[in-house]
Amino acid sequence: MKEILFRSSIVFAALALFELAAPALHAAPAPNCLECHSDKGGPQFKGSIHGSMACTDCHTDIKAFPHPDQVAKVNCSTCHAAAVSKLNQSVHAHSSAQPCLSCHGDAHEILPATDPKSAVYALNIPRTCGNCHGDKKFAAQHNITEVYSQYMDSIHGFALSRDGLLVAATCAACHGSHEIRKHTDPASRVYRGNVADTCGSCHSGIEAVYQKGIHGQLVKAGDTSAPVCSDCHTAHQISNVQSTAWQVKTTATCGGCHTEEMATYRDTFHSQVSALGYQQVARCWDCHGEHDILPASDPNSKISDANLVATCGRCHAGANASFVTYQPHADPHDGRRFPLLHASAIFMNLLLAGVIGFFLLHALLWLLRSRGEAGHERRTL
């Protein structure tokens, strides 16, 4: 009997002690949690942005010890409502992994974005995004372009990785962070209609010029088929505009819409030279301007009557009013607009066909007759 009494008093005392200690579980990272979860409360957690918080501030479903084996997923939106709401409308909403942690890293070690060790610190963003988007298999699975390496080799990527510039465009600078949307979504920062504004958030001066040009005006008016920054400069690799490869490719880009002008340009010396990979030759933008392209009827246009001598004169020293009557897009087939050129083309074709045709026939007949020539013998050389 004495024995039973003693044992039950120990149990009672233990229960009483536990009940007394229970409130402390809600107050601070109690040593109780860390007794089991010693790996979660170390200096890494103390130093994190959430270091002053209690375990149960996030793990809100844990009310008592022992807690169930299965605890609920932490809901970040309790505090970060705005960010999570944006995330839920983004392309990452249905991400199978915990979407917050994919970018922000280990939940117990999250650092402020301004901390150079943070996964979302500007200089670390490409690597963080690249965890998924640098994976070829991942890109193939999601049917998206493998953009990580293109970005890293771009002027933006170099500015960031090599020069450590915080102002260099990161993934988030263009795509946004929580609110990343598909480029086909009109609310996306990389939707065609919004690209100029997005790039212009850094390249403000160029954007102002672009918006005044015919292409900027068309896009502003809602014509998204007009070219935006990325059509010429590309989105991720931001090709070097000094490179011959880019200049040849982009000439064709202009020609993708301006097919007739491209065909007539092909007939000119400018094109013949540029096709052979010579850089110092007039390509579309050398005459029409780059960002400030305007129709010839506009007095501010580089190819307006008033500006043509200066524009041609940039390459052709000594260009005068007569010189600029040269037609950089002449079409020899168009007899109405270019009668003299058209007539010359017909004459040259007739001459070519006539001379070659007559003499080929002449040669053929001569050959046949010589073969039939009596007593003909092959001359020895």
């Binding site: 010579y278 005068n320 007569s322 037609q327 050129l341 002449h362 001569w366 050389l381």
Partner: protein, 282 residues
């Protein structure tokens, strides 16, 4: 010819046909014409893969246009020297025969008669015409090149010094300059590499090539066969012996064969590329 005839003499007699100056001129034209064609065709067919490859091989467009202009300058100097020489000999030294007559390259009524007779002979309708020093196709060759140099040369220099030329002519003529420069060049290339090659070298009577332009000399037999009227004229004037020549040296014959073979190979390669690329344009 190996056929023994009654009049055959034991030795083969050689006679001068072209002067050293004419042979040099032809040599310079061969080199510069091939050079201009090799560097011009890649521009005319700049979209073709072989053009880009060729341009890269010689160091890009900069190198191509440099060699094009260099060859053009050399050809221009040769052309100018030739014209000045002809005019000097004709006017100052009163050799009017250079401007008119059988020794000149100026066409005469006989050329048209010869052409007509030759065509009749082709069709077994008449006798083979008796040619003088220059047959009508020789004169066509000469004037084709002459006309070509004028047209291509003028349009070329107009484009080279475009702002300067624009002081004297409308800039829109520069469009025409490029057009005729390219088309006339195609005519020249296709003419030289087919018609000239056949008429002068590849036809059965001369096959595979006529070395006369390299050695400057022809045999009496060749002379009688090819230019019977000239032979008869000089014989009656008693001038045959003035033109007697030594047998061409072996090295000279071989030199001609090598140069001729290279010109053939380059010409046929360019002709092939030109024809293929020209057809692709349609």
């Amino acid at each position: 010819m190996t056929t023994p005839t009654a009049t055959q003499t034991p030795e083969v007699r050689y006679y001068h046909r072209f002067t050293l100056g004419q042979r040099y001129l032809h040599g310079i034209i061969i080199i510069t014409f091939l050079g201009l064609a090799l560097t011009g065709l890649p521009l005319r067919f700049s979209g073709a893969a072989w053009s880009v490859a060729l341009a890269r091989a010689v160091g890009g467009f900069g190198a191509i246009i440099f060699f094009h202009k260099l060859n053009a300058l050399i050809m221009t100097v040769a052309f100018a020297a030739h014209v000045i020489n002809i005019l000097y000999r004709a006017i100052v030294r009163k050799q009017w025969g250079l401007l008119w007559g059988p020794d000149s390259l100026v066409p005469s009524l006989k050329d048209f008669k010869d052409l007509f007779a030759h065509l009749r002979w082709f069709l077994w309708l008449g006798k083979k015409p008796q040619f003088e020093r220059y047959a009508y196709w020789d004169r066509v060759d000469y004037w084709a090149v002459f006309w070509g140099m004028g047209i291509i040369g003028f349009s070329g220099y107009a484009m080279w010094f475009a702002p300067f030329f624009a002081r004297f002519m409308p800039g829109s003529w520069l469009n025409i300059a490029l057009l005729i420069h390219g088309e006339e060049a195609l005519l020249a290339v296709s003419f030289i590499f087919t018609i000239h090659y056949f008429n002068t070298h590849l036809r059965p009577q001369n096959f595979p090539m006529d070395l006369t332009i390299f050695t400057g000399r022809q045999t009496e037999q060749e002379w009688i066969e090819k230019h019977p009227e000239e032979y008869a004229r000089l014989k009656s004037e008693g001038k045959l012996e003035e033109l007697r020549a030594k047998q061409p040296e072996r090295w000279l014959n071989n030199f001609g064969r090598v140069v001729g073979t290279i010109a053939f190979l380059l010409g046929f390669a360019m002709l092939y590329l030109t024809v293929v690329s020209f057809i692709k344009e349609f």
